[in-house]
């Protein structure tokens, strides 16, 4: 047993090394970075972070990203809940085909959709809004949420529904006050995955925005090419994009393994 624990430790070290390097870079001055190799920041500086927090074109990137990710998560879960309930409890015309078709959208390469999306959202005059990105990300997040939630709902016995009706609950009241609380782990896991995939996706987000809703990740690529090679700034911006993910994952840490198994993700 003792010998075995070396494997996850080495693996985690491997995972942490590039992250460490990014964080270390973010505390270095441009001078130090360009002058050569150093394992730790020699002249520790917060200037890179100061730039990000004082320059609106930087910090608005974060606000934009968080805004559309949140909107997407709310929309995805809100529409996926009733749909997942229908799939887990009822048989209806075309149910299997519909479920399968939903899942195929998870396989669609984003690159395939980039250009048509641009035209579609320009046509409906949503281009460069939070809603555009939030809706576009529904393409893969809704099927995923339906899939996860259906898995969790399948674990709830049908008797729960029947008991509630016998007790005189109306459907909306039963759904909101009894059913959703009993699958709140599933809702948490689904919301986590929506957040994750919307947060990390860039191709569509970049295609559908110009200025007003531009995500932080896109801001980074712009800055990297226009302002020369400001590695320290780039590293600081990158470091800051890890934090929201780290916070979200901390909240669902006890559900991750279970969520993966139950939700069949």
């Amino acid at each position: 047993m003792k010998k075995r624990t070396i494997v996850p430790i080495v693996y985690i070290l491997f995972l942490m090394l590039p992250i460490y390097w990014l964080v270390a870079m973010s505390f270095k001055t441009t001078n130090e970075i360009l002058s050569g190799f150093s394992l730790f920041p020699q002249t520790f500086t917060l200037d890179n972070y100061k730039t990000i927090f004082t320059d609106p074109s930087w910090y608005w990137g974060y606000i934009n990203s968080i805004a559309y990710v949140s909107i997407n998560t709310v929309i995805s879960i809100a529409v996926a809940l009733p749909a997942a309930y229908a799939f887990s409890r009822y048989r209806f015309l075309g149910d299997k085909q519909l479920f399968f078709w939903l899942l195929t959208n998870r396989m669609a390469p984003a690159a395939v959709f980039a250009l048509p999306f641009f035209q579609l959202y320009s046509a409906v005059e949503l281009f460069d809004t939070y809603l555009a990105v939030a809706l576009a990300h529904c393409l893969f997040n809704i099927p995923l949420s339906v899939w996860i939630l259906e898995g969790f709902m399948g674990g709830i016995p049908k008797e729960l529904d029947e008991t509630a009706y016998v007790d005189g609950y109306s459907f909306p009241r039963f759904f909101a006050t009894i059913f959703i609380p009993s699958i709140k782990a599933g809702v948490g896991v689904a919301a986590f995955f929506c957040f994750m995939f919307s947060w990390v996706e860039l191709l569509l987000a970049k295609t559908l925005t110009a200025v007003a809703a531009k995500p932080i990740a896109a801001t980074m690529t712009k800055t990297a090419s226009s302002a020369g090679y400001e590695l320290g700034l780039l590293a600081a911006a990158g470091t800051l994009t890890i934090i929201p993910g780290a916070i979200v994952i901390y909240f669902v840490r006890n559900y991750i393994a279970k969520g993966f198994a139950m939700g069949r993700v």
Binding site: F14, W21, L22, F92, A235
Partner: protein, 287 residues
């Protein structure tokens, strides 16, 4: 078990509308482009299936497809066994479990272009940790902007870094769902570690592993941002995977017709392989 209820359609309607809006309209646009030729100014000419024939015969597409399969094959062959091995050696309970899981999941929560940028910084020959180590400590001549092999090793390593945890988490979820009695029975039956793996752990992980392989196949087949940021498809075209090539054609050259035809072929291949794999993996369950 389930009751027949056509009104359930009302529950799925919002999902249907949203996904259809995002999937069907763009898909129709793509189909539309794929059979036409344009010289700009919104003037289109009917082209039939010419673009499809052209793409299917083009060396450029074959090369990109070949690189794509190579990449997907490499990362599957590394990530799946590695993920299983790591999951097997993780502790089953205790304080360290959530710590391990959180740390392992971290790479998956980093925006994809940041992943690319991070690996770029990490591998810079003179100032990156890995680049410096390889060049100046081990004395290996490493520069992925010049050397295609180095570029390949780097994008594969990056993907392993990025996504092996997904396999670990799934495999681990399968492992912890095995009741203790199975291990105890195996001990009493005198089973070797290998037998325990072969006859208990692997069968119990089958469902989650199917999902892991499917997800990794689909996502690696669709990969764009990370290698684009890291290598830009280079040096030369050596790391130009399907999506990168597609975007080059569509947005770089604005050849909408060929790009659309390529999109459809590309999507069809993804669907076909996923479906084949899924059918083969689940066929066993019925018998």
């Amino acid at each position: 078990m389930k009751t027949e209820n056509q009104k359930a359609w009302f529950f799925v309607l919002p999902v249907l509308i949203l996904v259809a809006f995002n999937a069907l309209i763009p898909m129709m646009t793509v189909v539309n482009y794929s059979v036409q030729e344009t010289f700009g100014d919104n003037v289109f000419f009917w082209q039939g299936l010419d673009w499809f024939q052209q793409i299917l015969r083009s060396d450029r597409f074959h090369a990109a497809l070949g690189r794509q399969f190579m990449f997907t094959f490499l990362i599957l062959i590394i990530e799946i066994p590695l993920g299983i091995a790591i999951a097997l050696s993780m502790p089953r309970k205790g304080f360290w479990v959530p710590v391990c899981l959180v740390l392992m999941a971290l790479p998956m929560l980093i925006p994809w272009n940041v992943v690319g940028a991070m690996w770029n910084i990490f591998t810079l020959p003179d100032i990156g940790l890995l680049g410096y180590f390889l060049n100046h400590v081990l004395g290996i001549n490493y520069d992925m902007t010049q050397d295609p092999v180095a570029a390949w090793v780097t994008i594969v390593t990056m993907d392993v870094w990025h996504w092996t945890s997904l396999v670990v988490l799934l495999a681990y979820a399968g492992l912890v769902s095995i009741p203790d009695a199975y291990y105890q029975a195996a001990k009493i039956d005198g089973a070797s570690n290998w037998s325990v793996f072969r006859f208990i752990q692997l069968p119990k992980m089958k469902t989650v592993l199917t999902i892991a392989i499917l997800l990794r196949f689909m996502d690696s087949f669709n990969i764009y941002t990370e290698p684009f940021v890291l290598t830009g498809g280079g040096p030369g075209n050596s790391t130009t995977l399907l999506s990168i090539d597609l975007v080059k054609i569509a947005l770089g050259q604005f050849d909408l017709g060929p790009a659309a035809a390529m999109s459809l072929i590309y999507f069809a291949i993804t669907l076909l392989v996923s479906w084949l794999f899924y059918t083969v993996m689940t066929k066993d369950d019925q018998t």
